[in-house]
Every structure is written in C-alpha cells, then in structure tokens.
C-alpha cells in the first residue's frame, strides 16, 4: 500500500515537473518572439494611491479617459498604485510602453512626474491638480481646477439647507488643493448667511488621509452631532463620511463626482470636479498637435469642469434655481470665490459691502 502511494506520488510529481518544464520552453519561445507593436495614440494614467474605483477623483479621471478613447479610438489604460513607493515604478513602466501622454492623477505624483519628464524628455506628461508654475518642464502640462467655484456653490447650498445653523467640512490632508475646497465652501456659507441674514458657522476638520474611510466615518459621526450638513473633500476617506450621513440620516455633500449613488437619500448634492473632462480636453489638444507642454491650464465652471450635478433630487426647488443664478454670476466673473486663506479674508471684507 505504502509503495503504491509513493509510486503514484512520484508519477504525479514527475508529470508536474515535466509539465512545468514544457511551460518554461513555451515561455522561452514567447521571449524569443518579442512583442508586437501598436501604433495607436496611447494615453495612460497613474492613480495616486486610491484605486480607480474610488467613486471620486480617480474614477472620474478614468471615465474621461474611456470617453476619450471612445471618441478618438486612442488606446488608454490606467495603473493603480497601492502606495507611494509604487509611483516611480509604474511611471517608469509606462515610459517603457511608449505612451504618448502619461497622466498623474493627483498632486502626490507631482515630484515623480517631474522626475520622469527629466528622464524621458521625449515623452509627454500631465498632472491633474498641480501646477509647477514658472518652472513647468517643457514636456509637462499642469491642470488646475477652480474647485473653489463648485465649493462655493456647495457652501451656499449647505447654508440654505441647514436647520441647526451649523455646517461641517472634512478635508483629506491640508494643502493648497484642499484649501480651494475649504475656503470656497466657507465663502459660499458666508455668502448665503448674509443673504439669509442669519449666522451660520462652519466646523472644519481634517481626516489626515485620502484613503482611510473608517477614520472619515468616525470624524463625521462626531461632526453630525452638531452639524446637519457636511461637505467633504477627502477622496476615499469621504466614502465613510457619506456612510455616516446615511446612518445619522443627515446630509452629506459629495465631491469630485456625483456621489448621490452612494446614499441616494442623504447626498444633498456634489461639488463636481470633472477631472475626466479636463483630461479629455488636454489629451485631445495633444492629439491635434497643439503645444500643451510647459503650461498650466485652469478649469472652472466656465469650462464646464466644475459645478454641481444636473439632478439633485434632495435639493429644494427654490434653492436649485437660485444656485443656477449664482452659477452664472461666477461664470461671468461677477463673483470670485476665494481659494486661499488670504483671498477668503479679502472676500469676507468685501462681502459686507456686496449687494446680494
């Protein structure tokens, strides 16, 4: 019996080993053949730590890429990074794939995109949410969003909706980009409270993370004790904030994409930052051989890259129509929502003399 078992085992083992050797030979053939070439226009994106299904910024970017591919027939792909040590690896691997344009989605990738542009001067790079300002390399394009504009609308809506007179803001990590959201939102609230003639305070807290949804939820649960509307600019961590709104049956305002699908009854509206649309615009420019390198583009309500969704079932009809008017005012430049702390202070001082 023992002998039979050991013989069967030996036979299976030999068969497996031989099969594996065959695989190796086959692999050797594949290696010697080399890969075929694909001459299509090739655009790729690298995520900044979140997955491409983050229901926020990255997802919006990928949708833009897909629609770009559909409209032009270009080849597109994304690469997900788990953590920051993956950034250089993935950017480097994309360079080996002969991309025509590589997008870094999120400012975290800035330093790596800059380095890659130096190493691969023949390739084009673009980065969303970041500007190298004066020092933009010739083969890099920066894209900024006037997120303060949509955040202003969000603040305005929050202030008009709140019953407690207190609204909240939860950011990911403090920084220039999230400042746009915070101060735009604060300004929107201030603007609305002047209109209502009622004091509405804004509570601000940071989750110190763009991915930790549990932490986002914990912060939001606490915040909903005081506030009844909370706006978040915390990427993946924001998913937890919306969950908290659902549990507490309060309102959350989504960010980057229309996030109402996450909690249809509890997402008041979303401050859309349509990175996908910007990607489409910029990629198309490059495809049409326009010079985009060395520049920074800024997109806002006017270009249709930020705003609020068409349909907001939870939003009061009257508020919705007044928002429409506000949008126009911003688009025309009549109101300039602030995106930094200084601009906000200035805005507040001007606000008192402003006619609404």
């Amino acid at each position: 019996m023992k002998k039979i078992i050991s013989r069967v085992f030996l036979a299976v083992f030999t068969a497996l080993t031989l099969g594996f050797c065959a695989l190796i030979v086959k692999a050797g053939v594949l290696i010697s053949q080399g890969a075929g070439t694909d001459n299509r226009f090739f655009v790729a994106m690298v995520t900044d730590g979140g997955g491409v299904n983050d229901q926020s910024f990255q997802e919006s970017a990928w949708r833009g890429m897909q629609s770009f591919s559909k409209n032009t027939g270009a080849k597109v792909r994304y690469v997900e990074c788990q953590q920051s040590s993956d950034f250089p690896i993935n950017i480097d691997k994309l360079a080996d794939e002969n991309t025509d344009l590589t997008w870094g989605i999120g400012y975290k990738l800035a330093a790596h995109i800059e380095l890659a542009s130096k190493i691969n001067p023949e390739r084009n790079y673009a980065i969303a949410d970041f500007s190298f300002g004066e020092n933009t390399p010739e083969n890099v394009t920066g894209v900024l969003f006037r997120a303060e504009e949509s955040s202003f609308l969000a603040g305005y809506i929050a202030a008009l909706t709140t019953k407690k007179g207190k609204v909240g803001f939860i950011g990911g990590l403090k920084g220039l980009v999230i400042d746009q959201f915070e101060y735009g939102y604060r300004a929107g609230v201030a603007y609305a409270s002047k209109k209502l003639g009622r004091d509405i305070t804004v509570k601000v807290q940071y989750a110190e993370s763009f991915t930790d949804s549990a932490k986002g939820k914990a912060i939001a649960m606490k915040m909903f004790d005081e506030c009844d509307v909370v706006f978040h600019a915390a990427g993946g961590a924001g998913v937890g904030i919306i969950e908290a709104a659902k549990e507490k049956d309060m309102y959350a305002i989504g960010v980057d994409m229309d996030q109402s699908s996450l909690a249809p009854k509890n997402v008041l509206t979303s401050a859309i930052k349509d990175v996908g649309k910007a990607i489409e615009i910029i990629s198309l420019k490059l495809m049409n051989r326009e010079t985009i390198g060395g520049k920074t583009f800024s997109y806002g309500i006017k270009e249709g890259c930020v705003g609020i969704p068409e349909n907001n079932p939870n939003l009061d009809k009257d508020i919705q129509s007044s928002v429409k008017k506000l949008e126009e005012k911003i688009s025309s430049g009549e109101i300039l929502p602030p995106g930094t702390s200084e601009a906000y202070d200035k805005f507040i001082s001007v606000l008192s003399s402003m006619k609404i």
Partner: protein, 377 residues
C-alpha cells in the same frame, strides 16, 4: 559516482535553486487556476528582468536595501536573536537621514557620511533599545520589535507633517539637499552635455539616465563581506555565534550574553539603518512620505535572510533573487493584469521550499544508507 551526485545534491546552492524551481512551479499552478497564461507570465517575468540593461540594473539597485536588511536579520540570527524589527529600524533611519539631509547642507564629502551615519545611528539606537529591553528586563525582542515597527511608522507620518519638513501639496517631505545624494553623474546626466552624449548611446542612456545610477550596491556587497568577517573571523563574532547557538554554554564560558545581545541588536539596527539611509540618498526623490502601511523592506529582509540560510554572503545572492522576483512581479501585474500578490505567494512558497529542501541532504543520506545496507546484505 553516486557519491559525487549526492554531494552536489547536498550543496545549499542546489537546494535553493531547487526551491526556486518548485516555488515557480506552484506559482504557475496558481496562475493557471486563476485563468492566466502561465507560459506568458513566465515570459513576462523573464523579460521584465533580463530584456534590457535598465531592468538588470534596476534589479541590482533595488536589491540594495533588501540585501542590507537581510544582513541585519541574518546577523542577529547568527547570535540567536530574531530581528523582526528591521522594518522599524529601516523607517527610523529614513526619517533621520531625511531630517539631517534637509537641515544641513555641507560639501558632499561631509554631507553624505553625515546623512548616512545619522540614519545608521537611528536604526542602531532602535535596535539597541530592543536589546536593552531584552537583556535588562527580559522582554522578548520579537514583541518589542513589532511595537517599535509601528511606532516608527507613525513617527514617520508625524515627521512628514511637521511644517518645517512637509512639502506643500504632496504627501511627503522636501527632498534632502542634493549634496547628500549618492547618485552618480546625477548633474551631468540632466545637463545639456550629458543629454547630447547619452542620446547617441542608447545602452549607456538606459543605464545611467533611466535609473538611479549609484554604487550603493557595491557598498552593500562590501558590508556583507565585513559582516562575514565579523561573524567568522573576530573574537566578538565568535562570542556572538556561541551565544546564539548555546547561550548557556556561552554564559558559563564567561561570555556576557546580555551585553552581547545589546551589541548584536545595535549592529543589526545599524545594518538596517544603512538600508534606510541608502534609500534616501540613492533613490529619487530622496524624501519620506506618509506611510499607510509598511513598505516591507525590513520584512523582506527576513525572507532574504531565510533564503540565504543566514549566510552573510548568501544574502547578496538571495537579495538579488528576491529583488528580481519583486521587480518581475510588478511587471506581471502591469503587463497581463495578474495580481502582484501572485509574486508574493511565489516568494512565500520559495521560502517555504527553502526550509523544506533543508531535508534534501537528509534524504540523500538516507538514500545512501539504504544503498550501503543493501551492499552489506
């Protein structure tokens, strides 16, 4: 004849090679089961390492930290200690190197040693602390090391967010001052002259321009050699080995085992510290970033040391193999979309087989025995 083959079968090198062979075999099985083409995967992995000079060099460059953390683990292991804290020591070293690299800006001749020494020292202190806790209070080193790993992780996140160091609109600190870089030809390769020269030399361009071209690997090899000398040629090394293999006998031979525990873990920490410091000085973009999870340089050192059977010189080979596997694994994910976890599984299986093939010499002996006993009959 049989004896010769048997002798060959018993060599550690052959055993390890066999472990890698079977590890890949099982990994291919998993790939097939999950619906990926195994032969294509193998081809991709092979190409990812060998098809371009850049890839080969990258494997070498990326092996540097794991060789060093591997040495750190192996060194402690030779003295009977399990340095699972290499990860934390690596992290505090990157923190210390970054801070000194940002705060000071001397001439490279001073700056580079300063940055590296500060990193080493930070790692060493953390290791030494574990040693003190073990020898003075009897707290097991594994326990404290694991805790220190987490402390180091959060310390890193804390330092990143200090205003003096945090770079606006990023998740990291500023890069250290360029005087602390241990990159070779770094200024030249981005200069007009360098670019023009490299344009005509695709291979050189591949090697110098497209990678973080540096000599840290050679220093790691040198350090491996030094560690070997310490362990096998010096009085202290002898004490370490005796303490590791039989602490009772060591104590009774007048060796201060407790003091040696502190020394060992300190040196072990220094080694992980070199790994961390080199990652800052020799890898773009020369800073630390917020960590959500361990980057595993230290933990990979455990695997490297295990595959090497704790031999210091073996760590060089196993570090290279390890780095090649990781690098190939990233390509696997990139090219055919197979999860990079496959490679982690593969590495796990290889380590498992390495442990398993230690029985090969025993099996061979048994085979020989049987043959001889047949002769006797």
């Amino acid at each position: 004849m049989t004896r010769k083959i048997a002798k060959l079968l018993k060599t550690p090198f052959f055993c390890t090679a066999m472990a890698i062979f079977f590890g890949s075999m099982v990994a291919c099985g998993i790939l097939l089961l999950t619906g990926y083409s195994a032969s294509e995967s193998l081809a991709v992995m092979f190409n990812a390492v060998f098809s371009r000079p850049k890839f080969i060099l990258n494997v070498i460059l990326k092996s540097t930290p794991v060789i060093l953390t591997g040495l750190s683990v192996a060194f402690a292991f030779k003295s009977g200690l399990f340095n699972i804290g290499a990860e934390g020591q690596y992290i505090v070293s990157t923190i210390a190197s970054t801070i000194t690299g940002i705060l000071f800006d001397f001439h490279p001749i001073i700056q580079i040693p300063l940055v590296i020494l500060s990193g080493m020292l930070a790692g060493g202190v953390l290791g030494g602390l574990v040693g003190i806790l073990k020898s003075k209070f009897g707290i097991h080193e594994v326990l404290t090391s694991i805790m220190f790993n987490w402390i180091a992780l959060y310390l890193c996140n804390f330092v990143v967010n200090i205003e003096r160091f945090h770079k606006q609109d990023s998740d990291g600190t500023y890069s250290i001052n360029p005087s602390g870089f241990t990159l070779l030809l770094n200024d030249w390769k981005f200069s007009e002259e360098g670019r023009n020269f490299l344009k005509d030399n695709p291979i050189l361009s591949d090697i110098i321009l497209k990678t973080d071209f540096n000599l840290n690997f050679l220093i790691a090899v040198l350090i491996a050699f030094i560690v070997w000398v310490i362990i096998y040629k010096t009085k202290k090394g002898y004490e370490f080995r005796v303490s590791g293999l039989n602490p009772d006998a060591a104590q009774k031979a007048g060796i201060n085992v407790q003091k040696n525990t502190i020394y060992t873990l300190f040196i072990s920490g220094l080694l992980s510290g070199v790994a961390g410091a080199f990652s800052i000085t020799g890898t773009s973009i020369h800073n630390i970033q917020t960590l959500s999870m361990f980057e595993n340089y230290g933990f990979n050192g455990l695997s490297v040391a295990l595959i090497a059977g704790s031999s210091p010189l073996g760590c060089i080979i196993s570090g290279l193999v390890f780095s090649a596997l990781i690098y190939a694994g990233q390509s696997l994910q990139f090219k055919i979309g197979a999860p990079s976890e496959i490679v982690n599984i593969m590495i796990g299986i290889i380590v498992f087989f390495v442990a398993l093939v230690r029985i090969v010499p025993t099996l061979v002996n048994r085979f020989l025995e049987r043959e001889e006993s047949l002769d006797v009959k």
